[in-house]
Amino acid sequence: FKDDLSTSPQLFTSMSPYDVDLPIQTTEDVLFSSQFNQSKELPADFSSVDLSFLPDITQDNKEQNLSGDSHEMQKELDGSIPRNEDSGIFMDESSSSYPDATQPSPEASDVCPPLTPMTPMTPVTPASESSGIVPQLQNIVSTVNLACKLDLKNIALHARNAEYNPKRFAAVIMRIREPRTTALIFSSGKMVCTGAKSEEQSRLAARKYARVVQKLGFPAKFLDFKIQNMVGSCDVRFPIRLEGLVLTHQQFSSYEPELFPGLIYRMVKPRIVLLIFVSGKVVLTGAKERSEIYEAFENIYPILKGFKKAS
């Protein structure tokens, strides 16, 4: 059925950068090339694949499908849970019976004609070259459930690195040196870990805190570890006319020099808040995954660059 894919109607050509991202494979295994890689062996067994999402083509998909930049795609898929809904179309297509392949076409035909997105999308510059700048992660906030009630006074007494001031805040503030982080430990057993520079560091730090609590005699477990927020920053190395940016991207930007010197840009996809400063420094926050930060920066960079030339 390889031929079917290659001779598939023009409807699908715009989506060609979408290599077949098979959700049953881990993203690290799938190698992306800029060409639609036909040589990949498509697994015949789809029993483990969840196809329930197939019928819907959401606005998200349309937007992604039309952005021709596979490089952006790659970054997006690298760190995150594979976007099942996008590959769903191809899943159906690549199934052995040809009539199935036509199934998505009515939906796809909705996709291809010129789209006016119903929700305001951050304008995407198609096929832009990558900026070459990688945002650096500055802070990761994660939570974990230790699943046991804790005696905070006891912890503060027996641990050197803990501070507890119940009148000010109802949690123990604990710090460790490596990785350099801070944790808020609540009596319910929930814990918040902040200050790590990467997801793995955050996880390691959270485990260390859990071990400290264990050693203090509590039956602490390590449940539901989740990254809640990631903050990154970078520098585009040229000054930015914030007044102009707020004029052209009014529905996303908020620039109030009386309140704050930076422009607050609320990107819709991915849902990230960017703080853009006149010096060219950009802070990105609100991400649950690293890829969102990279994607957001790749989205904003052409906008900022376009601005620089225009001024």
Binding site: Q136, Q138, K153, A156, L157, H158, A159, R160, N161, I176, E178, P179, K197, S198, E199, E200, Q201, S202, R203, L204, R207, K208, R211, V212, K215, L216, F238, P239, I240, R241, L242, E243, V246, L247, Q250, Q251, S254, Y255, E256, P257, E258, L259, F260, P261, G262, I264, R266, F277, V278, S279, G280, K308, K309
Partner: protein
């Protein structure tokens, strides 16, 4: 006092108006026959002196709104009246306020915040109609803390998804200068201080535009810039008499606050003007400094486009830099020919540098976080954790005893 007429009973003309308890009665004095009884309500109040009944009172519309909402709406209306805003603004502001208070995120906020919410609605309305109103003004009218106002404003903008256009500097200049008391002769304004309003407004506007072109405005609070520009323009209109006057004195006489950043803005403006002056052919003979450049502000503003191009190496032109610009032609030359001198010349002449915001030209020394080291990158998050590492964070028994003795822990 008898009214006209005779008693139907006895025919006597002695009719008396008397009150039976609270009711007026017309009674015959001879036979006691009651001719007429007073009305319980008088025509005077209702029919001859009719008062307009407001729609909201007659329909019970007001009763539908909670007292808190009513109070808030009244506050918004009062604010609009104090600021002398057109009636359209009042209606829009009230409608925003009603929408906001009904929104779940504002429904239960404190009364203080609800009052600030009213102020924010007025502020948003003014901005949307390009009425230059600063947050400082609203905060001072509401006796509000700026941080609280800022947070309420930002959440209002987000929740109601309002698009608020940027503050127009031109309008702000006009409004701000209106509050300067320099345009008329008065007892406390010395004669050399008085200035023509039109001239001052025009020149201040030009200086503010110059500031915004040279990156002095982006990211900064607008009012200090306008104040500094006003001072410079006022000085330059009559430099002989006014050069000796300080900024602080100027603001005091003009009856205007001197915001702290204004001194820095003044310094930055003067630096820009000095750079421009170095490119003006007939000024290069003079040694310019911060005082003397003020005299030539008029000329500098007149030729500012040309001077800016020459004084600063605009990044676009770096690539097409011509070599050796010795003399500058006073008439604006084509873009290809001018542009900046080559890099080497730049240092020698003290000539054009890049046009950058002050935060980039004078960067504060900041500790740059190092890029993640190789060992950091190798962390998987699942490494084994040694006991000794954890134990370093636990207190020994002697320590605990010592703490307990010190009664650190009740």
């Amino acid at each position: 006092m008898a009214a006209g007429g005779s008693c139907p009973g006895c025919g006597s003309a002695a009719l008396v108006e008397d009150a039976h308890y609270a009711q007026q009665q017309l009674v015959c004095a001879s036979c006691g026959c009651v001719l007429a009884e007073g009305l319980l309500t008088t025509t005077y109040a209702e029919e001859e002196h009719l008062r307009e009944v407001a729609y909201s009172q007659s329909t019970g519309q007001k009763e539908q709104l909670s007292r808190c909402l009513q109070r808030g709406i009244r506050r918004v209306q009062d604010l609009c009246k104090v600021l002398q805003l057109p009636t359209v603004f009042e209606e829009t502001a009230v409608s925003y306020f009603q929408r906001a208070v009904q929104h779940p995120s504002f429904h239960l906020v404190s009364l203080e915040k609800k009052e600030l919410l009213g102020g924010c609605c007025v502020f948003v309305t003014c901005r949307q109609h390009s009425w230059p109103l600063t947050m400082g003004t609203i905060c001072s009218l509401l006796y509000a803390k700026q941080e609280l106002f800022a947070s309420v404003y930002l959440s209002l903008q987000k929740e109601l998804e309002l698009s608020v256009p940027a503050l127009s500097l031109a309008d702000l200049v006009k409004t701000h200068l209106n509050s300067f008391r320099l345009f008329q002769h008065a007892a406390d304004v010395p004669a050399p201080f008085v200035e023509d309003k039109e001239k001052m407004v025009t020149r201040t506007m030009q200086i503010v535009e110059l500031a915004s072109e040279t990156w002095l405005v982006t990211g900064r609070h607008p009012v200090p810039i306008v104040t500094a520009a006003a001072f410079l323009s006022w000085q330059s209109l009559q430099p002989a008499a006014r050069l000796t006057c300080t900024f602080a004195r100027f603001c005091k006489v003009a009856g205007v606050d001197l915001p702290p950043p204004a001194h820095l803005r003044l310094k930055e403006l003067l630096e820009i003007l000095l750079r421009m002056a170095s490119q003006l052919a007939w000024l290069r003979v003079f040694k310019m400094d911060k005082k003397t450049v003020v005299k030539h502000i008029g000329d500098l503003l007149q030729h500012r486009i040309f001077l800016l191009k020459n004084a600063f190496c605009l990044e676009d032109e770096e690539e097409r830099c011509a070599t050796a610009l010795g003399e500058h032609s006073p008439v604006s030359p084509p873009a290809q020919e001018e542009g900046c001198p080559a890099e080497g010349k730049r240092q020698r002449e003290g000539g054009p540098g890049p046009l950058l915001p002050p935060c980039l030209t004078n960067p504060r020394k900041r500790l740059r976080t190092a890029a993640p080291s190789a060992s950091d990158l190798a962390i998987t998050g699942d490494e084994p954790i040694s006991d000794s590492e954890i134990e370093q964070y636990l207190r020994g028994p002697e320590e605990i005893r010592a703490f307990r003795q010190a009664k650190a822990w009740p």
